[in-house]
């Protein structure tokens, strides 16, 4: 998988490793919280990257679908008393069905219409948030599991351990997606469709079905992600919006379709945020740094294109 990293990503990865080594000695809590938070960003951004890479759709309702997955898990937890980690299992097929229905009713009709895609997915985002508002109201909902606040102490540093689950989950999703796309017939077909849908159709691949399966699978992943998110966060109808923005931004920074780049940039942004916040009184700059880095990367790419 590392062989797929672009040269630029390699350089960034090496830079991150150096930064991480420095942080580990200088500000270890920055390294821990940056890695944990960055992994959450990666986890949420990966399906956006896949959907864009294969369908060519930038899903602005991505965070809202995660919110839906979280509310589904919340409802299961409160109705049946099961643990949110167990609620991840039914959340996967439930969101897969949501994906199929959404694709057939809406996405299918705008696959080759970029402007309409934006309008449609934006409309879906608003509709999903309002629907959640009608069902669950605007009051935030929480679940409590003691392990959500578990911690460990190493020397003078006490830190939370649960969010390492995000690190593991991001790695599992990334490797899983990679293996699916490179080692399975369906995945290879999806890659072919993503690169050249007309050519794929000519060799007998059902392009329409491939689109639907990829879109639905990416939404299905958001079910368990929503359940994981629920363990540490209050959920409410508008909770997904900011994560849509972050996910799309990370995908844009990594370069559309570049999954390892999403890992590198997601964790990099998490570390940058945590680093800025670690200086007292500078926390307000975290978002400026986050989006400032995106602007710099976009400018740099634009400059490179002109030079070439």
């Amino acid at each position: 998988m590392l062989a797929k990293l672009r040269q630029r990503d390699y350089q960034i990865l090496i830079a991150f490793i150096i930064v991480a080594a420095i942080l580990a000695f200088w500000r270890p809590h920055v390294l821990i919280s940056g890695l944990q938070r960055g992994s959450l960003y990666v986890l949420i951004a990966l399906p956006v990257g896949i959907i864009y890479g294969i369908l060519g759709i930038l899903n602005l309702a991505h965070g809202e679908f995660m919110m839906l997955g979280a509310f589904f898990a919340f409802s299961l937890v409160t109705l049946t008393g099961i643990d949110p980690l167990i609620a991840m299992l039914p959340a996967f097929p439930a969101m897969f069905v949501v994906g199929i229905v959404t694709y057939r009713l809406t996405i299918k009709h705008v696959v080759r219409a970029p402007l309409n895609q934006f309008l449609l997915t934006f409309g879906l985002a608003v509709m999903l948030a309002e629907m959640a508002n009608l069902i669950w109201t605007t009051r935030p909902r929480i679940v409590w599991v003691p392990y959500a606040a578990s911690s460990a102490t190493i020397g003078p540093i006490t830190f939370g351990t649960f969010e390492f689950v995000y690190v593991a989950a991001a790695a599992i999703v990334l490797v899983g997606m990679f293996l699916f796309l490179t080692r399975t017939r369906a995945g290879l077909a999806a890659m072919a469709v993503g690169q050249n849908p007309r050519g794929a159709k000519l060799v007998g691949i059902d392009v329409e079905r491939t689109y639907m399966m990829i879109f639905s699978a990416c939404l299905a992943v958001l079910g368990p992600i929503g359940a994981l998110f629920l363990i540490r966060h209050a959920i409410f109808p508008e909770v997904g919006g900011p994560f849509s923005l972050r996910a799309v931004s990370i995908v844009a920074m990594a370069g559309f379709g570049n999954l390892p780049g999403i890992l590198v940039w997601g964790i990099g942004l998490g570390l940058a945020e945590a680093f800025v916040r670690s200086f007292r009184g500078w926390g307000g700059w975290a978002d400026i740094i986050f989006f400032g880095m995106i602007i710099l990367v976009v400018f740099y790419r634009s400059y490179q294109r002109r030079v070439r």
Binding site: S33, R139, P140, F162, A234, R277, S278, G283
Partner: protein, 414 residues
């Protein structure tokens, strides 16, 4: 022939006179009684606005069941402002021109209300507002050439802080083990948090205060570990976070995981997540509020409201805007009854004189001038504490429902 016609005519006359005597005379229907129209504007998509409207409906139902006011029923027309200044202003215009309401009530967000003030001033009808706590709203009202028609029941933001300063002074005096020499304020970086921090610094002049902003979970934040570490390094007597409802869980969980348990742990969100009181991390967290469900144990009006609300709507009041909406209508009704008319001058005079010894929010209500306007209702908020899943009132002592838990229990003891 002529004789026959005459006999028939006499017989018809006799018959008609008998009918007239023996049957009740047809009653002319009286014109329908014109209702007194109250026009409310609330954000109905939010629980605060929805339950506020429910509180109003409950009060209207009770008043109409008792015969109305001045022999006329109350009619409540509620419009949604969608938390949008433009929509909120248009709602006032429609209530004034299409529905021809007699009095404006309701309200929530200050930003929305700032856009409504010019429309309200244009129509100049009596307005009794229960939202919009910002001092900017007060300044906007005071800047009008005439604002006698305007009554504001919710405390202004500076009054809320003044109230808490007064409350903490009383608590520290009564419970000397509680100290407030060093305070750390973590505030969300928007206007709500920044204003809260600025006002705290100004009013807690004798306290050493440090503060730092954070990004609220409402705006995609929720990572409070850095600010909590800084607070822990400061070693405060009291840690205060000024944020929104979705920040509550993250704040407690992350404080626990870094082992930060200051003697006083206080949160000031406008509301709390559903079920927050049931999690063990909430125990002994202090909070501010206009109302608590536990007041039903000490206030007959609060108890009446609590049970009537549940009976009518099948759900518990979850926000103080529910009883405040109820008080809104009861206050207006008392004013109209006292004035005996809907004429503006006498009605304003009468509203100014309305006094409630007890209300659904558990406080007495009287009208007095605030810093800038003539008609201000409530001026304080309570200091409460989560205890056993309930919001117990610690101060004011006259409506206290429990003694404070101090210091904040260690995380390992929960």
């Amino acid at each position: 022939m002529k004789k026959g016609i005459l006999l028939i005519a006499v017989a018809l006359l006799l018959a008609s006179s008998l009918v007239a005597v023996g049957c009740p005379r047809p009653v002319l229907e009286e014109p329908p009684v014109e209702p007194i129209r109250l026009g409310a504007v609330n954000p109905l998509g939010d629980i605060t606005g929805r339950q506020s409207a429910q509180g109003m409906k409950l009060a209207v139902a009770e008043i109409n069941a008792a015969g109305g006011i001045l022999g006329r029923p109350l009619e409540l027309i509620v419009m949604d402002d969608e938390f949008s200044p433009a929509v909120g202003a248009a709602a006032i215009e429609k209530l004034a021109t299409v529905h021809e309401v007699d009095i404006f009530i309701g309200g929530m967000a200050s930003g929305v209300h700032l856009a409504q003030i010019p429309i309200l001033a244009k129509h100049g009808r009596v307005t009794v507002w229960i939202g919009a706590a910002s001092h900017l709203v007060e300044a906007a009202i005071a800047a009008l050439p005439d604002h006698d028609w305007y009554f504001h029941l919710h405390p202004w933001d500076y009054q809320q802080v003044e109230g808490t300063v007064e409350g903490w002074a009383a608590i520290v005096e009564k419970f000397p083990q509680i100290r407030l020499d060093r305070m750390f304020v973590a505030y969300e970086e928007g206007a709500f948090g920044a204003a809260g921090f600025a006002i705290s610094r100004a009013l807690f002049a004798d306290v050493t205060i440090e503060g730092e902003s954070f990004t609220s979970a409402v705006f995609g934040g929720g990572d409070f570990r850095a600010v909590l570490r800084h607070a822990k390094e400061f070693n405060p007597d009291a840690f205060v976070w000024v944020g929104f409802d979705p920040d509550a869980l993250g704040m407690m969980v992350q404080a626990k995981e870094i082992g930060f348990a200051p003697p006083v742990f206080l949160g000031t969100p406008p509301g709390w997540p559903v079920g927050f009181g049931e999690i063990p991390l909430s125990e002994a967290v202090w909070l501010y509020g206009m109302w608590s469900p536990e007041l039903k144990g000490v206030s007959p009006e609060a108890a009446h409201f609590w049970w009537a609300f549940i009976e009518k709507f099948g759900e518990e009041p979850a926000t103080y805007f529910a009883p405040l909406g109820y008080v809104n209508v009861k206050f207006v009704a008392a004013g109209i009854e006292r004035a005996g008319t809907l004429e503006r001058g006498p009605l304003i005079e009468a509203l100014r004189e309305v006094r409630f010894e007890d209300t659904a929010v558990g406080w007495p209500l009287t009208i007095a001038p605030s810093r800038l306007i003539r008609h201000q209702g409530f001026t304080r908020q309570m200091i409460l504490q989560w205890q056993g899943g309930r919001q117990e009132v610690i101060w004011p002592f006259e409506v206290a429902t429990a003694e404070p838990i101090f210091p904040f229990p260690r995380w390992e003891d929960r």
